[in-house]
């Protein structure tokens, strides 16, 4: 009961913030902290709620100047890109492209587009780090997995490490989405250590109750010194919410993709590593499947 109240409260507040955001688009950067606080509904058991009032936020002059520079730069880039063609590509390039490299890891700036997390957030003992690999050519995600559950009396399982891209943002913190509808497969060049990973794709949560929805599929690594090229069709991704596979499955909306992530949680305690060369998209014309799972109503009424 208390939980539902909290949820209602959160929904109400976030909708209010949205309205504010819509009313004052230029105030967006100032309000993001407040909004993100409301959006992150998970709080570790035993921790006090973060009740920092908005007037205690960091209002330094330098931060303001940096923000103005960044956002007007982004605005300029958006305008120029719009002039050039769809998404900043030339029209013929955009139409004929069969492949696209979305993320490659060649510098620290590329790593900054990713967020690494582990179950340390919920009180677990896993560790995960991300760094540049040899000759600054790859990203190396490494750490240790520990499945010992936190002893807070609520958490049952533990043991995951994850890496997730930051959602794309336009000028003045407007939400943007990747449009990958020209492609039908995800293409990765990786080198792992034999552990299975899960790829999570987060799409636009149109309604707030969809904000925990994720599209997942598995990525198996072979291990060994050789690179491995993995192609995963988007039709294989299945819908899950809060870690549970859903009964009614829907194909991924390829024009509303927000983030891509990797999760390790194979319940094997010990060190792990995953090296990623690049993450790209491929239009595999031999693949015609729309969706790999049944869309009709299952579990029929007996």
């Amino acid at each position: 009961m208390a939980l539902s109240f909290k949820l209602l409260d959160g929904v109400f507040l976030s909708s209010r913030c949205h309205r504010q955001n819509a009313l004052h688009p230029l105030l967006g950067p100032l309000l993001t902290d407040c909004i993100s606080k409301l959006y992150s509904s998970y709080r570790r058991p035993g921790t006090a709620p973060d009740n920092t009032p908005p007037w205690k936020m960091n209002f330094s002059f330098e931060k303001g100047v940096d923000g103005i520079k960044k956002h007007f730069g982004l605005l300029k880039k958006e305008l120029v890109d719009h002039w050039k063609g769809p998404e900043g590509y030339r029209l013929d390039e955009y139409l004929l492209a069969q492949t696209r490299v979305v993320w490659e890891f060649r510098s620290q700036k590329d790593l900054d587009e990713w967020v690494v997390s582990s179950d340390a957030e919920i009180g677990g003992k896993s560790e995960a780090y991300l760094k540049l690999g040899k000759n600054n050519q790859t990203a190396l995600l490494y750490g240790t997995l520990n499945t010992e559950a936190p002893r807070d009396g609520e958490t049952g399982y533990s043991g995951y490490c994850a890496m997730r891209s930051k959602p794309p943002k336009g000028a003045f913190e407007t939400k943007k989405y990747y449009d990958w509808s020209n492609f039908n497969s995800l293409y990765l060049r990786i080198r792992g250590d034999g552990r299975p990973w899960m790829i999570n794709i987060y799409t636009n949560p149109y309604f707030s109750h969809q904000k925990d929805d994720l599209y997942n599929y598995f990525m198996f690594t072979r291990g060994g010194p050789y690179w491995q090229e993995i192609k995963i069709p988007f039709s294989k991704f299945f819908l899950s919410s809060r870690g549970r596979i859903q009964d009614d499955q829907h194909p991924l909306w390829l024009d509303k993709i927000s983030t891509v992530g990797f999760t390790l949680g194979d319940k094997a305690d010990g060190p792990f590593q995953l090296e990623i060369d690049f993450i790209g998209l491929l239009n595999d014309r031999a693949h015609t499947e729309e969706f790999a799972y049944e869309k009709y109503e299952r579990n029929p009424k007996v």
């Binding site: 050519q137 010194p225 491995q228 060369d277 007996v302």
Partner: protein, 432 residues
């Protein structure tokens, strides 16, 4: 008001309790029950003290059997209900038979199966201890503890309002533990669930979901690991090396079998196993390697086969300088037809499926091995064995980059990372 009156009456009665008990020998009167409740309330701290004393005593005196047999109730000094039922069940070792004995004992104790939810939760927690967490029969046996046909919803209203929620949740817990261990339920599970909870109940839904998704993901791993890994380290090494070689024509060679022997001097000699793999492509690469440049033995690198971690070593070279990278084919090598054709065979504008990224510069890999010991002497034997098939290796200096512990593949050339390096170049010819 009523309760106050009851309390007063109870106090009155407590004085003459013995008389009343004599008067009502079989059943306690409701007032007496109340009284006994109050007694319970007062006794709780006392009992906890007593039980802790019993615990400390059993720690001091290992043969505290009298304490154990004293009470067959389920709160015997342990915070976990039904803990002692499982403790008592394993007289010898913890196995499936002992676990089944505990479950049967619970079923026979009480025809109404009182406290079955607590018992099932305790049993689920105890399963890994008894080593039966991957046994479908045991899960079915646990589900069999539920009384049958009591929790079946009889009409749509009961079904709507989550009939017997604790029992349904408990049933879901059993299925969830099966899911976590990757156990697929069978017909008997379904039969039991239908008998206990009826169709369209939550456990049945969970069962249907398991049966829908499990077969879909059962065989998606393109690099499957056998369910039971071989005990023999040589066989394990063979499997792992074939997995990481990614080449079906690669050949596994056992350079040394594991051996424990006692020499004449009475010293024990242990010989670690050395298993190596080399594919024809790798052999060709090594044959073309410039003997003036050293090759490196690096490792150990981890490889996970489900929950087992094994370590392997690689023999590799430095990244090739650009002038050595391409094999220049002389245009006059063959007068009759060109040796190298560069035809653009793309048929259409859409046929370009290349990714435009910088290639990761890495040295070639010549061979891989797994050994029982990671010291230099063992790996030198591997290099010696490789020289039989790769004569060029006897002219090439070999440098050992070995770390005491496992490490990342990347840090191979980071010399500043403070890892122990044992550079040693040595020409095997001189030794031979």
């Amino acid at each position: 008001m009523n309760s106050v009156r009851n309390l007063l009456r109870a106090r009155e009665l407590s004085a003459g309790r013995g008389v009343l008990r004599q008067a009502v020998p079989g059943r306690d009167s409701p007032w007496l029950q109340e009284r006994s409740c109050a007694q319970c309330f007062w006794l709780v701290p006392v009992r906890s003290i007593r039980s802790s004393a019993a615990l400390s005593r059993s720690e001091l005196v290992p043969s505290a059997k009298g304490d154990k047999e004293k009470d067959r109730g389920f709160r015997d000094g342990s915070l976990v209900p039904f803990d002692e039922l499982f403790e008592r069940a394993h007289e010898g070792d913890r196995n499936k038979a002992a676990f089944n004995r505990a479950v049967e004992f619970f079923c026979q104790r009480d025809i109404r199966r009182r406290g079955h939810v607590e018992f099932i939760n305790a049993a689920l927690r105890k399963m890994p201890e008894f080593g039966v967490e991957r046994d479908l029969d045991v899960y079915n046996k646990i589900l069999d503890v539920f009384p049958k046909e009591v929790f079946v919803a009889r009409n749509f209203i009961q079904r709507m309002f989550n009939h017997y929620p604790r029992q349904q949740e408990c049933g879901i817990h059993v299925l969830e533990q099966m899911e976590n261990y990757g156990i697929m339920p069978n017909k008997q599970t379904k039969f039991l669930l239908l008998q206990i909870f009826g169709d369209r109940s939550h456990p049945i839904r969970k069962y249907q979901r398991l049966m829908y998704w499990f077969p879909k993901f059962k065989h998606i791993n393109p690099y499957p690991v056998p369910a039971a890994l071989p005990r023999d380290p040589v066989d394990l090494a063979r499997i792992s090396l074939q997995r990481i070689a990614a080449d079906l024509s690669a050949e596994v060679t056992v350079y040394q079998m594991p051996l424990t022997d006692i020499s004449d001097a009475g010293k024990e000699i242990t010989q670690p196993h050395i298993v190596g793999i080399q594919s024809p492509d790798q052999q060709e690469l090594l044959a073309r390697h410039n003997p003036a440049r050293p090759v490196f033995v690096e490792g150990p690198f981890p490889l996970w086969l489900k929950k087992t971690c094994v370590y392997y070593y690689v023999l590799r070279g430095d990244p090739l300088p650009p002038e050595e990278k391409e094999e220049v084919i002389d245009s006059e090598r063959n007068f009759y037809y060109p040796m190298h054709l560069d035809l653009d065979l793309d048929r259409d504008l859409w046929d370009d499926e290349e990714f435009y990224v910088d290639e990761v510069a890495e040295g070639p890999i010549f061979a891989m091995c797994m050994a029982g010991a990671g010291d230099q002497a063992t790996l030198a034997k591997w290099i010696l064995g490789l020289q039989q098939t790769n004569p060029i290796l006897s002219q090439t200096p070999v440098v050992f980059h070995l770390t005491p512990g496992p490490r990342e593949l990347q840090a191979a050339s980071d010399s500043e990372s403070g890892e122990e390096e044992i550079p040693q170049s040595w020409h095997m010819k001189q030794e031979l």
